[in-house]
Amino acid sequence: MMALLASPHPPTIFCALSCKRYHLGPRIRSPPPSLLLLPARNLSLVLPRCADGSAAAADGNMEKKDEAVPPTRPLESEKNKQPHQQQQQQYHQHEIRDGSVVKAQALKFEDTRWVGGTWDMRQFRKNGSTDWDAVIHAEASRRTWLEDHPEASSIDEPVIFDTSIIPWWAWIKSFHLPEAEKLNGRAAMIGFFMAYFIDSLTGIGLVGQTGNFFCKTMLFATVVWVLLIRENRDIKNLKKLFEEMTLYDKQWLATWQDDAPGDSKN
């Protein structure tokens, strides 16, 4: 995949936005001199430099224009929008030289808190304890970066970060609780209006409804429904999942399907 990455926006906006969130976002390293040995035609599309140091990168081999690369998602919306737009125009071809794997440079993920293949916990301290939300955020941004700019895996600097060091309550606080709040809210609203509706239809009040077996069953069904199906596409997903679970079995049993008497030809 070819990526000629543009330099980030003027430093002021970058720093302003990033200082709000964290110290420094991913930086682009200036290319080592070996890159400059590439033929001149490849460098003709190098972008104007910026104070941070620009990066021109060519990597790997590519036989055709890389149309299938997903639209590069800006890391922090508008500050990266323009550079990324420029970036997409800079894709160009780099032929495979016969029989050789071309040496190339690629962008690397850089962050001051990413040390030695893992996140340095000491840099995430806030008010004496570790800011786990920031760790989660940092890891998410690293993965997003790598999804857009896949990197070579390195033997000297292996990635050894393990998400299990983040304690369970941090995950619950960040992800489970907001979702739970949303679902409970929905359940409460549905519950209130159903209680009203049934009361208006049958005259059974709230106390009577909680004692009635049918009402309790419907309550249970509603809870299960709300848990499993949160968006319309969940219904389709569940159906697909069920089909998937049994498809492989069916494929293996296919050869046994036709052992009706007339079939065994001799």
Binding site: M1, T144, S153, T163, F175
Partner: protein
């Protein structure tokens, strides 16, 4: 139809139908693999195992003739077992020096079961590195014993060896291209196969020949012509694309006993990219089922991910081949059976096929030898179905578990991250290698299994939570 054969085949069909019916119900309703195996065995023993050959006509003055089409691991081991069992065997292979594009990994049990000489194995892989989409690298293999390894072989060497053994056992190995087969005219009639025989001197299109045989074993791989002749049906297949790269000696040292597996959307949407060491070079490749048109892009991405380790290498060969994803709808028809890739016996998740090809060849041959009482009787479809039964029952748990793993962990980048995280666990490593090397799905300690289940769910939840955070970032 001779009444004798009809009754025997219906009787055989009855017992098999009940077995199949049992499996069908429990499999689809419960969706649990192998739970009913003991029960169905008992059932069958109660009904009595029908020996179809007891009432099959005796062959007068000649042995049973079987043609094995295709001389790879499946064909070679089938031909050897047939010849050893006293059956007149002909093995037809179109290219005797074929370098089949292949990962080339064989499990330990294959070396033992097939008595392979150790010098067949170019390298012994004892360390495997799994690399996630965000380059988290996990080494697996800590739990391997000192003489446990994954053998890397060159297909041309392995195939030639197995064919040589078949020839020694009495099979006649013919260099020819199978064209088509004609169904027998009446019950018990011979199959007529048409093939082009190539002269040893080489060159030319070869001479058209026909041969009459009593049974045909189709071992001619993913694009099997035998399968087409019997209308076995199609299967979904993956394209595996591989480049052999000769890298400098210093870099080769890293791969001395190590193979790598790269997972990620960039490398493959539903499979993995690999770097496998061969005799003096490495094979860098990837595969996909759903996005075959983008295979070159995936290959470039695989090369990029392994860049540091294969830099400065030269590509000496580029190859590709289809890999079946599941068995063909019909693997046996009349006295024609499919084995190996032709039948579709490649596992999901790991894409392993050599061992199952060789094993299915042997099982098919053994079923034919048994059904024909060492070549003295005619066989019928029931005998071949016995091979199917045996194979399915023995390896179904393995296939199902790998299918579940693939569905669970190759789904998305988040699932792949969880997968690699799970591989760091020692228990997982032990279970994985035990089941890979010995082809037995061994249930471990239930407490450890529970811990494993909890850890798996934890990993998946964390990875998916990170995925949601990633999506939030890009909104």
């Amino acid at each position: 139809m001779a009444s004798l054969s009809t009754t025997t085949s219906t009787a055989a069909g009855d017992s098999l139908r009940s077995f199949a019916g049992l499996r069908r119900e429990t499999r689809i309703l419960r969706g649990v693999a192998a739970a009913d195996a003991p029960g169905s065995q008992l059932r069958r023993r109660q009904l009595g195992v029908v020996r179809a050959s007891r009432t099959s006509p005796r062959l007068n003055g000649r042995k049973l003739r079987v043609a094995v089409v295709g001389g790879g691991p499946a064909g070679g081991s089938a031909a050897e077992a047939l010849a050893k069992g006293g059956v007149e065997t002909m093995l037809i292979e179109r290219k005797l020096d074929n370098c089949k594009p292949c990962g080339g990994a064989i499990p330990l049990c294959m070396v033992e079961e097939f008595g392979l000489p150790l010098d067949l194995i170019d390298r012994r892989v004892t360390k495997m590195k799994m690399i996630s989409p965000s380059n988290v690298a996990v080494d697996i293999g800590r739990t391997l014993g000192p003489d446990e390894y994954i053998g890397m072989v060159r297909r041309e060497v392995l195939d030639a060896y197995l064919r040589g053994r078949a020839a020694e056992a009495g099979a006649s190995v013919i260099n020819g291209l199978f064209l088509r087969l004609e169904q027998p005219e009446g019950p018990g009639g011979p199959y007529r196969i048409h093939y082009n025989e190539f002269s040893p001197a080489g060159g030319g299109a070869g001479e058209r020949r026909t041969a009459e045989v009593d049974a045909v074993v189709g071992a001619d791989g993913a694009n099997s012509r035998v399968a087409k002749s019997i209308g076995a049906g199609e299967y979904e297949y993956a394209i595996a694309f591989q480049e052999r790269v000769r890298i400098p000696e210093t870099k080769m040292e890293y791969y001395k006993e190590r193979a790598e597996m790269y997972v990620g959307d960039d490398v493959s949407p539903d499979f993995y990219g690999w770097v496998f060491p061969k005799c003096d070079h490495v094979a860098v490749g990837t595969g996909t089922v759903t996005h075959k048109a983008d295979i070159k892009k995936f290959q470039a991405a695989t090369r990029l991910r392994a860049k540091d380790k294969i830099e400065g290498g030269t590509i000496i060969r580029v190859e590709a081949h289809p890999i079946p994803e599941h068995p063909r709808p019909r693997r046996v028809l009349g006295r024609v059976a499919l084995i190996g890739d032709a039948a579709g016996y490649v596992t999901k998740c790991s894409g392993e096929g050599i061992y199952f090809a060789a094993k299915s060849g042997r099982m098919c041959a053994e079923a034919i030898v048994e059904g024909s009482e060492n070549g003295s009787r005619m066989i019928d479809e029931g005998d071949l179905r016995k091979y199917l039964e045996k194979f399915d029952k023995m390896y179904w748990p393995t296939y199902k578990v790998l299918d579940v793993l693939q569905k669970l962990f190759y789904r998305s980048n988040a699932a792949r991250e969880a997968f690699v995280e799970m591989c760091a666990d020692e228990y997982v490593q032990k279970m994985t290698f035990d089941s890979y090397l010995y082809k037995k799905v061994v249930p471990g300690n239930p407490l450890d299994d529970l811990k494993l289940a909890v850890n798996t769910i934890g990993s998946l939840v964390r990875a998916n939570a990170l995925r949601r955070e990633m999506d939030k970032l890009t909104l």
